[in-house]
């Protein structure tokens, strides 16, 4: 558990340092995630401690959203004032995104299958 947490914090720290040094417009933890992904690819396996900690953190991911989500109390006035554009952006935007992603992916798979069954794996 602790070795896993140490690995995650180390990669997060590396990510933060890279972002600070280069001024990349990407959050530090995302860079840390990319770095960890690359290292896992190179190593070809996930250390046991990391596997356990990552699994535990991802399983409790919902809980981690609660403090930030409760921030809604600070924006009640803004949400009341802008409820229409915000609702439209959330509902319409989410529906459009699901449709666009699914239709594109299905079209590309169908196109590939027409080209030849060999590559249709």
């Amino acid at each position: 558990m602790i070795s896993g947490l140490a690995i995650l914090l180390l990669f997060q720290l590396a990510g933060e340092l890279i972002v600070t040094a280069t001024g990349l417009p990407i959050p530090g933890p995302v860079v840390g995630m990319l770095l960890l992904f690359i290292v896992l690819l190179a190593r070809g396996r996930v250390p046991h401690g990391l596997e356990r900690t990552a699994d535990a953190l991802i399983k409790t991911l919902s809980l981690l959203f609660v403090p930030a989500g409760t921030g809604v109390v600070a924006y009640l006035a803004l949400l009341r004032q802008e409820w229409l554009p915000i609702t439209a952006a959330l509902v319409g935007g989410t529906a459009l995104t699901i449709a666009a992603t699914a239709l594109t992916m299905r079209a590309v798979i169908a196109h590939r299958e027409r080209k030849g069954p060999r590559s249709a794996a």
């Binding site: 990510g15 417009p25 959050p27 995630m33 991911l61 609660v66 921030g71 992916m105 798979i109 794996a121």
Partner: protein
């Protein structure tokens, strides 16, 4: 003043009380969700509504609550890094569908950001709201990081992200059924790209393959959105 008011005051001001209440409320929400199996009773949604009500009733300023629950919030950073692990486990699936996944990802990520900003602007949202809405489709820690980078309000983004997740989890299946999308890989990937972890949790309830591809969509879109939002915000001259 009561003789023990000072001691009680210290407990109220310290992080212990709100941390404990948050965990208990979350456990109760999870129990309620498992007990009813209702999509509407999403544990995040129920916990946020309950905690918000408690803060309003006790007149506790949000900054005090945020300070008390900083430890939980801090874990979002390592949790983001941890997303590399399931992504790595899905490497083989990713390889076989690399082409379709890449093209669908680019299309989905652009649609998410542009539709949120476009619909918001069309109906008169403020610039702060637009900047906070832009990364709404990706998982909270990444979205908050993006919002902070482009000058949005991270805590507002967190709220919008969670609402987006709930909308995708509740409505995603209906949209995909309407479009007659049957391939579980396609269904899952679309839900993950549009509605991150909350959608992914819902996708895992449909079946294993749908869930796996939702996780993949969530991870990949987190990275791509972190790159494209600052560029789009710059192009649209939205940055404050």
């Amino acid at each position: 003043m009561q003789p023990d008011a000072g001691a009680w005051g210290a407990v109220v001001r310290g992080p212990l009380l709100w941390l404990t209440v948050t965990l208990l409320v979350y456990l109760a929400s999870q129990w309620l969700h498992a007990r009813t199996g209702s999509t509407w009773l999403n544990p995040v949604l129920i916990s946020v509504i309950t905690m918000s009500t408690l803060l309003l009733l006790t007149r506790t300023p949000y900054v005090d609550y945020a300070e008390a629950t900083r430890f939980i919030h801090f874990l979002l950073g390592p949790a983001t890094v941890a997303l590399a692990v399931p992504l790595y486990h899905r490497l083989n699936r990713l390889r076989t569908l690399a082409g379709p996944v890449t093209i669908a990802l680019i299309c989905g990520a652009l649609t998410a950001v542009i539709s949120a900003i476009g619909l918001g602007k069309l109906l008169g949202a403020s610039d702060l709201s637009l900047l906070s809405l832009a990364p709404k489709s990706v998982t909270t820690p990444i979205a908050m990081g993006i919002a902070e980078k482009v000058g949005g309000q991270p805590s507002l983004t967190a709220v919008l992200v969670i609402l987006t997740g709930i909308i995708g989890a509740v409505g995603g299946k209906a949209i995909l059924d309407l479009l007659r999308i049957n391939d579980p890989a396609v269904r899952g990937f679309a839900i993950g790209v549009a509605s991150h972890g909350i959608g992914t949790a819902r996708a895992f309830q449909m079946d294993e393959e749908t869930g796996a591809f939702a996780g993949l969509g969530m991870g990949l879109n987190g990275i791509l959105t972190a790159i494209i939002v600052p560029v789009i915000v710059d192009l649209l001259n939205l940055a404050p």
